[in-house]
């Protein structure tokens, strides 16, 4: 893996054993993410997006394949990966009964900062993400948009090289979504952070991601810039990403005049 790459996976797979037999949630994902890139992972429900993210963040051991994340091998050095990545799950990850300040300080200490340093870092993060006024509130009293800003602040505690966001704007109002897009762009611009995010919103993928990877039934079925995908799969750069997405995944009415879906 050369130094311009942040993530490279090869044949990454995960099979779950269930009472009804093995389920191949992810089967052989090959993925390359450049340093400082914002990559959007798209795919229908159950396509394997979240499972892929959980493997790349060391939460779930792959059953096949290899991956290097932020310069560290996922299987051999998960601790090295953990020190260099941040992750925001769909459900966030804060206790509604705990104050914003306490969660930010605890997070700093989980990343190995000593007490006073963890408190300083909590103040810094609060300033950078506009949480200063909310520090003494319980997390459960925040609005959806404020909650997401806190979740991202928690994930940025240790200035990670790679930030993983699982459906970061699901459930947010349009204003909060736009704010969150700005925040993600700012994080990349200021710190050169690589961002991998999953989303169901095609306008979000179009507006935010440099490059898209479409996952379906556990494998990568298309990838490219939004314009490339529209041209290749929906016939024109002026087509909507929706048309391209439906053509790739075969869900919904097939477009009239496109190249075959094989990638």
């Amino acid at each position: 893996m050369d130094s311009s790459e942040s993530i490279r996976t090869s044949g990454l797979s995960r099979t779950f054993a269930t009472p009804r037999g093995p389920v191949e949630a992810v089967r052989g994902v090959d993925l390359t993410v450049r340093r400082g890139e914002i990559l959007g992972l798209l795919g229908p429900n159950g396509a394997g997006k979240t499972t892929t993210l959980r493997m790349l963040t060391t939460l779930l051991a792959p059953t096949g394949g290899t991956a290097t994340v932020a310069g560290h091998d996922l299987a051999r050095d998960p601790a090295g990966v953990r020190r260099r990545i941040g992750y925001v799950a769909q459900s966030g990850g804060v206790d509604p009964a705990v104050s914003v300040r306490e969660e930010l300080v605890t997070q700093g200490r989980l990343y190995g900062l000593r007490g006073p340093r963890a408190e300083e870092r909590a103040e810094e993060l609060a300033r950078e993400l506009g949480l200063t006024e909310l520090m003494e509130r319980p997390c459960g009293a925040l609005s959806g948009g404020q909650r997401r800003r806190l979740d991202i602040a928690m994930a940025l505690t240790h200035r990670p090289e790679v930030l993983f966001l699982d459906e970061p704007t699901t459930g947010l109002d349009p204003g909060s979504r736009a704010d969150l897009w700005d925040l993600v762009r700012r994080v990349r611009a200021e710190w050169g952070t690589t961002v991998v995010l999953t989303t169901h919103y095609l306008d979000e993928a179009d507006a935010l991601a440099d490059r898209l990877v479409v996952v379906d039934r556990g494998t990568v079925v298309a990838e490219g810039t939004p314009t490339e995908l529209k041209t290749r799969h929906a016939g024109s750069p002026d087509a909507t990403l929706q048309d391209a997405f439906l053509a790739v995944t075969g869900r919904g009415p097939a477009p009239r005049d496109t190249t075959p879906v094989a990638v």
Binding site: F16, R54, T58, L60, R82, A89, D95, L110, G112
Partner: protein, 251 residues
């Protein structure tokens, strides 16, 4: 090693504060054994229970371990709620020690239950319990050991279970037979032969016998050694199992 200690202290602090915020968590767990003490204890004062000492020296050791049994076995319920909030994954994605994620939680449970055990003993003394202090302290040690072991197993089960509906029936299916087969309420020396034999497959029985021996001051009783060895084995197995699940959780 230093990381393990500071990580454990960090996780312990977080959950100790969680307990301190909840008056219900502080008091409710001790309510059931306290009720047994006040409403059931007086029934036994004139009943011949076999063995040495007063009926209180037989009953109170059982109540301490009953407190640990029911209190710690349901500890995982809180973890299931935390899983639903994404808190467990958020912590597992940081470099914090996996063992500390478990130890910090189980030490909180052991500390809370031992504190409640202290309250039970104070009430019991007011009711008429007379027992040597070293024996009572040994009783607390066994309470803490059992609480730590069962909490670790409960967290392991909670890491596996997808929902409270999958968790609670398993715990209920374990705690009731554990209580009845260990002689918590009445000593197994009163049991018919077959039940006495059956009760020996329940590890908790050795702990109950040990605390009863301690409460009457029989410190060289083989029951005390057997109980101590059982408790150590139980802790080793359950902490190992619990950490395994924090290391590599399922879906």
């Amino acid at each position: 090693m230093r990381t393990l200690l500071s990580d454990t202290a960090l996780v312990f602090g977080r959950y100790a504060r969680q307990t301190l915020r909840s008056k219900a968590a502080m008091t409710f767990g001790a309510l059931m054994p306290a009720l047994y003490l006040v409403l059931y204890g007086p029934l036994l004062t004139d009943v011949p229970l076999g063995g040495a000492g007063s009926s209180w020296q037989v009953l109170v050791p059982g109540l301490l371990l009953q407190l640990a049994l029911f209190g710690a076995s349901f500890a995982g319920m809180g973890l299931i709620i935390e899983k639903q909030h994404g808190i467990v994954d958020r912590m597992r994605v940081t470099p914090v020690s996996r063992l500390a994620l478990l130890l910090g939680r189980v030490l909180r449970d052991a500390a809370l239950l031992t504190l409640q055990a202290g309250v039970i003993v104070l009430v019991a003394v007011a009711m008429g319990l007379r027992a040597p202090l070293p024996g009572i302290l040994l009783g607390f040690a066994f309470t803490a050991a059992l609480a730590l072991s069962l909490a670790a197993l409960s967290y392991a089960l909670a890491m596996k279970a997808a929902a409270p509906m999958a968790f609670a029936p398993v715990v209920n299916g374990f705690t009731m037979p554990a209580m009845l087969l260990s002689g918590l309420l009445l000593p197994m020396s009163l049991a018919p032969g077959w039940l006495d034999v059956l009760s020996h497959v329940m590890p908790l029985r050795y702990l109950v016998d040990a605390v009863r021996a301690a409460f009457v001051g029989h410190y060289s009783d083989p029951a005390l050694i057997r109980g101590a060895l059982t408790a150590l084995a139980l802790m080793a197995v359950s902490v190992t199992a619990g950490t395994r699940y924090f290391r590599r959780a399922g879906a």
